[in-house]
Structure formats: C-alpha cells, structure tokens
C-alpha cells in the first residue's frame, strides 16, 4: 500500500513540470488559435506614408524611408507578388523599431513574426528580419 501511495505521489510530482509546459503550449496554441498565427513574409519594408500616398519604394527611396521611420512614420511590409501591406509592429510595448529593422528599409527582406488582423487591417510583430 505504501508503495502504491509513493508511486502515485512520485508520478504526480514528475508530471507537474510536464503539465506546466503543456499549459504554456496550450496558451500559446490558444493565443494563435484566437486568430494570431506565425507568418513569414517575403517583400520589402516601406514607409507607410510615402508608399500609400506616392507609391514610393525601392532602393532609390531607401534613405527617405529610413528618415521617415526614424521620424515616427509607421513601417509596413509590402508582400512580394500579392502587393498586400502589413503594418509592422515592435514585439513589446513602449519600444520603437529596432535599428536593425530601420536600416533594412527599401530592401528585399524576409520578415517573421506574429500576424494579427483587426477590422480588415493586417499587423505583424517583428520576430526577425533577414
């Protein structure tokens, strides 16, 4: 009997980290399940103002795009082929765009992050830019 109780307690103790991990995974899956998904986008980082109002993009516009991003104009990701625009967001609140992202403006990049959709608008948080 004592062996049985010892076995049950040991099993419960061993399972607890597993359950915590599983819970975490579940939350992650749950969050993604709520319309958030990981996404990889190939395209170009553009500054929203100049692209939307003037269709300005590309290497010829790079410096202006960098200046716009530093001035606070939102960065967007223009997807190759589809022409879809995703507003790029930092991963955390109270942070700006990293310099490594700003310096890649106007260049073809691959952006990985989390996709959010809200009221027909698309947003992607930056996980990595290559």
């Amino acid at each position: 009997m004592k062996h049985v109780i010892r076995g049950i307690v040991t099993t419960l103790l061993l399972m607890s980290p597993v359950s915590v991990w599983a819970q975490g995974e579940h939350e992650h899956d749950h969050a993604h399940g709520k319309g958030v998904q990981e996404i990889t986008i190939k395209g170009e980082l553009v500054d929203s103002l100049c692209y939307v109002t003037m269709a300005a993009k590309g290497k010829g516009h790079k410096q202006c795009a960098i200046d716009c991003a530093k001035a606070g104009i939102p960065i967007s990701m223009l997807e190759d082929g589809t022409g879809k625009l995703y507003t790029v967001l930092p991963q955390k609140d109270k942070t700006g765009y990293p310099e490594s992202v700003i310096n890649r403006m106007g260049e073809p990049v691959t952006l990985k992050g989390d996709l959010y959709e809200n009221g027909g608008n698309r947003y992607v948080t930056i996980e990595s830019v290559e």
Binding site: L49, C50, C64, D67, C68, A71
Partner: protein
C-alpha cells in the same frame, strides 16, 4: 467579353483613351514656368564637358576628327551660354524669392557672366588653330577644363536653388515667402518664414 470587330475597335479606342490624355500635350510646361532659363541651361552644362572630352582626346591622341567635333561642341556651348545668361538675367526678377535664394542667385549670376567671358576667349582661341588643333593646345585644355568645372559648379548651385530652396518652383512659393504675400524680390530686408524649408529631412 465580346470579340466582334466593332466591339474590339471600341475597346481599343477606349483603352487608348485610358492610356493617353491628349489634352496634356502642348508645351504647357514652358508657359507655366516662371522663366525660360531652365530650358537653356542644358546646353552649357552638357556641351562644355563634351567639348573638353573631345578636345582632350583630339589633342592627346592627335585625333583630328575629335578636335573638329570638340570645336563644334564648344561653339554650341558658347551659344547655349549666351542664351542661358540672357534668359537668366531676364528671369532674376520674375519669381518670388527670399534672401537666401537671392544671395545664391548673385553668386550664380557672377559665375555665369564669367563663363560667358571665358567661353568667348575659348572660341576665339579655337579659331587660332592648325589642323584643327588650337595653338598652345595644352593651356587651351587647361582653360577649357577650368571653364567646364565652373559650369558644373554653377549648375550645382542652380540645382540647389531649385531642388532644395524651391526657387521658381510653384508650390514652394508659400514656403519661400512665408505666406505673407507681397514679398517678392526681397533684396534687402531679412525675411522671417513661418515654415522654414526643412532641407532634406522633410517628405
């Protein structure tokens, strides 16, 4: 989608109308520019470097045909310089400008007049030639090179006046004059602009 000949012709006409707005043709740009000086500046800017290149090849490589072409470019450059200087003098009072533009314009004008004198000298010098090669060929090349440098320097100054300061650029008038109105040709008083041209930081 219908494919009868009549429908296709109608579709093609409609497609052409969509691609071409014929009402935009005509030289409206010329009429709307404050002055015609920008039309003539192309000639000295392009033809002096071309003359330098051709004379350089002709003199260094003893290539007569290049000297002939260089001479043609030099004469065309001189004619272009005359036209540019004359139209520039006519234009200086025709567009709203502030103290900064005026200051740049004075330097631009001085160099322009110097270029006219130098090009006159070069044209006369080129007439004194033997087998299309100017007498004292290498000093000639040096003077031509100096003239070309001044042309390009003056062009840079003119470009700054237009692209950065907005001289003769219609939408920049309010920026230049500070939206006060009635402040054309502010030669002497200091002009406070409400909205300073933010140089190359703005979009």
């Amino acid at each position: 989608m219908t494919t009868t000949p009549v429908a296709l012709r109608a579709a093609n006409r409609s497609s052409l109308r969509n691609k071409m707005d014929f009402s935009l043709l005509g030289f409206q740009g010329l009429h709307q520019v404050f002055n015609v000086h920008p039309v003539f500046v192309h000639f000295p800017i392009a033809l002096f470097p071309s003359a330098l290149l051709l004379y350089g090849l002709g003199i260094i490589l003893n290539w007569r045909a290049a000297c002939v072409a260089g001479r043609a470019c030099l004469y065309l450059a001189m004619a272009g310089t005359v036209a540019a200087v004359v139209t520039g003098l006519m234009a200086q009072d025709t567009f709203p400008h502030n103290e900064r533009i005026h200051h740049m314009m004075q330097t631009h004008k001085t160099i322009g007049i110097a270029l006219f004198l130098m090009s006159t000298l070069l044209v006369i010098w080129s007439i004194l030639q033997k087998a299309q090669r100017p007498k004292a060929a290498y000093p000639f090349l040096i003077v031509l090179a100096a003239t070309t440098y001044l042309v390009l320097q003056n062009a840079d100054l003119g470009g700054r006046m237009v692209f950065i300061e907005g001289a003769a650029v219609k939408p920049a008038v309010s920026v230049i004059t500070g939206e006060h109105g009635g402040h054309e040709e502010t030669h002497t008083h200091h002009h406070e602009t409400e909205e300073e041209p933010p140089d190359h930081q703005m979009h």
